[in-house]
C-alpha cells in the first residue's frame, strides 16, 4: 500500500500508463547496452524490423489460401501438413514452425485466439494486430465468440453454424482457411489473393464476394 496526496491508501504506487518519454528512453538504454555487449546493432534492428514491415505479412497467407482454393491437391496437403505445404511456397519461419490450418465450411466457423499471451502464425499472417494482443479480445473470445464476432467484427453467423475457437496455448500455430465466396469461379489465383483479408484467416472476418 502506498498513499496518495490526500492520505488515502492506494493499492498500487506510481502513475499509469507510464509516459511515452520514459518508455522510449528505457528502450534506447537497453538497446545501447546490448550493442555494447555486441549482441545487436542499428543495422540488425533495421533489418529485422524491415523484414516484418515489408516482407512478412498477411499477403503471404492470402497467397496460400488462393492456391488452396484453386488447387485441390495443394489444399489437401495444406490441411494435412500446413508447415510443409507453406514451405513449398517458400513461406515459413519464426512462430510458424508447426502450423495447422483449419477449414471454415458452411457448417463450421473457426477462429483463433491466445488467452494467455499473443501467439499467432507470423509467417503467414505477419505480426498480430494490437486488438488480438489486448485483454478484451483474449478474455471474451472463448466465452462469447458469437457476440464478439457480431458486435465487434460485424460477422453475424447463422444460429446453426458451429463455432470452434482455437486457443493457441502451446507451440502449434493455427490459422483459418476461409470459405471461397460464390461468384469467384472465373477469378485467377492472383485475383483471388486480393480478396483474402487478414481477419478472414484469424476467423473474425469472412471473405466477401467481389462487388
Amino acid at each position: 500500500m502506498t498513499t496518495t496526496e490526500s492520505g488515502s491508501p492506494a493499492p498500487v504506487s506510481g502513475t499509469f500508463p507510464v509516459t511515452d518519454e520514459e518508455i522510449a528512453a528505457r528502450v534506447k538504454a537497453l538497446e545501447s547496452l546490448l550493442i555494447d555487449k555486441g549482441v545487436t546493432s542499428e543495422l540488425a534492428v533495421d533489418k529485422i524490423a524491415e523484414m516484418y514491415e515489408r516482407e512478412v505479412g498477411p499477403h503471404l497467407g492470402a497467397a496460400v489460401v488462393a492456391r488452396a482454393w484453386t488447387d485441390p491437391e495443394f489444399k489437401q496437403r495444406l490441411l494435412d501438413d500446413a508447415t510443409e505445404a507453406c514451405r513449398e511456397m517458400g513461406i515459413g519461419g519464426m512462430q510458424g514452425e508447426d502450423m495447422v490450418v483449419i477449414e471454415n465450411t458452411g457448417d463450421v466457423h473457426n477462429a483463433i485466439v491466445c488467452t494467455l499471451c499473443s501467439c499467432y502464425p507470423w509467417p503467414t499472417l505477419g505480426l498480430p494486430p494490437n486488438w488480438y494482443k489486448a485483454p478484451a479480445y483474449r478474455a471474451r473470445m472463448v466465452k462469447e465468440p458469437r457476440t464478439v464476432l457480431r458486435e465487434e467484427f460485424g460477422v453475424d453467423l447463422p444460429e446453426q453454424t458451429e463455432i470452434r475457437i482455437w486457443d493457441t496455448s502451446a507451440e502449434v500455430r493455427y490459422w483459418v482457411l476461409p470459405q471461397r465466396p460464390p461468384g469467384t469461379e472465373d477469378m485467377t489465383e492472383e485475383q483471388l489473393r486480393e480478396l483474402v483479408s487478414r481477419d478472414s484467416m484469424i476467423g473474425v472476418g469472412l471473405v466477401a464476394a467481389p462487388a
Binding site: T40, L43, C117, W131, V142, I165, V172
Partner: protein, 225 residues
C-alpha cells in the same frame, strides 16, 4: 501463476474495438523493442522466461501497458536477473536518454550478424523435440480431464480449463515443457494434445452461447477422465 494475464472468460474489459488499419510498428521504440528478441535469447534467456517475465508484471502495469512495453519489461527483468546487465547501468542510461531523447544509437553494425539474425527468423526455432516416451498416454477420442493445478511459476495450463473434461482431437509430438523451461530447470519435452471442450463444460449450461473451445495441453497437465 494465477495472474491477470490468464484472461480467458474474464469480463469487464470493455470492447475489442478493432481499427480499420494500423501500421506494423507505431513508432521507433516499438521497432527497436521487437528487434531485441534474438539478442535477448542469445544472452541466455528463452521463450518461456520471456513469457513469464510479462506475467510477473503488476496487474496494473499489465493492463495499462502498451504491447511492446511488456516486451521491454521482460527483457529488462530477465537480463538483470541473469546478470547480463545491471539495474544501475540501465537506470543511468535511461536517465541519459531522457535528457538526450534525440541522441542516436551507436552507429553501424556487423552485416554478418544482421544476416545471421534474419536467417533465424526465416528458419524459425522449433520447440518440438524427440521424446523417449514413445507411447502417448492418450489417443484421439479419449476423454481427458485437466488437472486442478495452480503452479506459482509459468504454466500454459489456463485457469479456465483446469478441472474440466474434454476429448482428445489430435496427438502431437513432444514440445519443450514451459513449466520447467521457464525456470531453466530443463526442457523436459512432453507430448502435446489438442483437446476439445464444450462451452457448457467450461462456462456452465447457463452460458448465453454454445460453442467449442480447442486447447493444446502438455501431457503433464492431463489425466484420464
Amino acid at each position: 501463476m494465477n495472474g491477470v494475464h490468464d484472461l480467458g472468460g474474464m469480463e469487464g474489459l470493455g470492447a475489442v474495438d478493432p481499427p480499420a488499419q494500423e501500421p506494423v510498428f507505431y513508432n521507433d521504440w516499438e521497432r527497436r523493442t521487437f528487434a531485441m528478441f534474438i539478442p535477448f535469447v542469445l544472452s541466455g534467456a528463452n521463450l518461456d522466461m520471456f513469457r513469464h517475465g510479462i506475467e510477473r508484471l503488476h496487474p496494473v502495469q499489465y493492463l495499462t501497458g502498451r504491447y511492446y512495453e511488456h516486451w521491454l519489461h521482460t527483457f529488462e527483468s530477465n537480463l538483470v536477473a541473469k546478470g547480463v546487465i545491471s539495474e544501475e547501468e540501465l537506470e543511468q542510461r535511461t536517465q541519459h536518454y531522457l535528457e538526450h531523447p534525440d541522441e542516436a544509437m551507436p552507429d553501424g553494425g556487423d552485416a554478418d550478424q544482421a544476416e545471421h539474425y534474419l536467417k533465424i527468423y526465416e528458419a524459425g526455432a522449433s520447440t518440438r523435440r524427440e521424446t523417449s516416451n514413445e507411447t502417448p498416454a492418450f489417443g484421439v477420442g479419449d476423454r481427458v480431464r485437466v488437472k486442478n493445478i495452480h503452479p506459482s511459476g509459468h504454466t500454459r495450463c489456463a485457469r479456465y480449463v483446469r478441472g474440466k473434461e474434454g476429448v482428445v482431437t489430435e496427438v502431437y509430438d513432444a514440445f519443450v515443457f514451459p513449466d520447467t523451461n521457464s525456470k531453466e530447470q530443463g526442457e523436459d519435452p512432453a507430448r502435446v494434445y489438442n483437446v476439445e471442450f464444450d462451452s457448457t463444460e467450461l462456462w456452465g449450461s447457463g452460458n448465453a452461447e454454445r460453442h467449442k473451445v480447442l486447447f493444446d495441453l502438455w501431457e503433464p497437465y492431463l489425466e484420464a477422465a
